[in-house]
């Protein structure tokens, strides 16, 4: 299930809950990725806009892809402001054997970065500044130009 939260993620509780949800499911591997806001470029934190309808569709396609490999994915993301050293993103893959989960988490997170309809802003001196130089145009962009 896709989980969206206002503000930062409670990492220990989410990871533990996901673990509990699958501990009897006979998966040999549980590989989580936790994204944490780093102290760099004098930012106070990051902020996120999320467009849920397309994010849901994107996520469902990955759930299906995981299922075909006998795996399960989980994902949590923040909306709004997340401050330094807090987490805004957790993704995880459960699979019968480690190789599938290790490869899948890589593909899943990379595609998330390139395709998921989420916009990032730096919080700096009370301003919310679009992180344009770190953003990626979604595949197929530019047809209206």
């Amino acid at each position: 299930m896709l989980e969206l939260y206002d503000g930062s993620l409670d990492v220990p509780s989410i990871l533990q809950r996901w673990y509990k949800e699958e501990e009897q499911s006979n998966y040999g591997a549980y590989i989580p990725f936790v994204g944490t806001i780093r102290d760099e470029d004098n930012i106070d934190g990051l902020s996120f806009d999320v467009y849920e309808p397309i994010l849901e569709t994107w996520y469902k396609a990955w759930v299906q892809k995981a299922k075909e490999k006998g795996a399960v994915i989980k994902m949590a993301h923040s909306r709004g402001d997340v401050m330094l050293h807090e987490s805004s993103y957790i993704a995880a893959v459960f699979s019968p054997k480690r190789r599938v989960a290790l490869e899948f988490i890589d593909e899943f997170v990379e595609d998330f970065k390139a395709s998921a309809p989420i916009w990032k802003y730096d919080l700096k001196n009370g301003e919310r500044i679009y992180a344009q130089d770190r953003s990626t145009a979604i595949k197929g962009s530019g047809i209206l130009a």
Binding site: D49, I54, K113, W119, A137
Partner: protein, 73 residues
């Protein structure tokens, strides 16, 4: 009428337009000074499904969304 929404950092109010295809939308937005910098890098969704060409007919009540470059995580 078709509703056009601008997502994320595009600071623009939604438009309601009498158009019947995406080519007409392209013409309208290309003439819009504040959209110049966004058009090349924005993706387009029709009723929350991404589209890859302008050969799309529109009908009453359709929703178009413009999605600028993304960066989740």
């Amino acid at each position: 009428m078709v509703r056009v929404e601008f997502l994320g950092p595009i600071q623009k109010e939604p438009l309601t337009l009498e158009i019947t295809n995406l080519k007409q939308l392209a013409t309208i937005l290309q003439e819009d000074q504040e959209m110049q910098s966004w058009l090349k890098t924005s993706a387009v969704a029709l009723n929350d499904t991404l589209v890859s060409s302008l050969d799309v007919d529109l009908k009453e009540g359709d929703k178009i969304s413009l999605l600028p470059p993304v960066c989740g995580g």
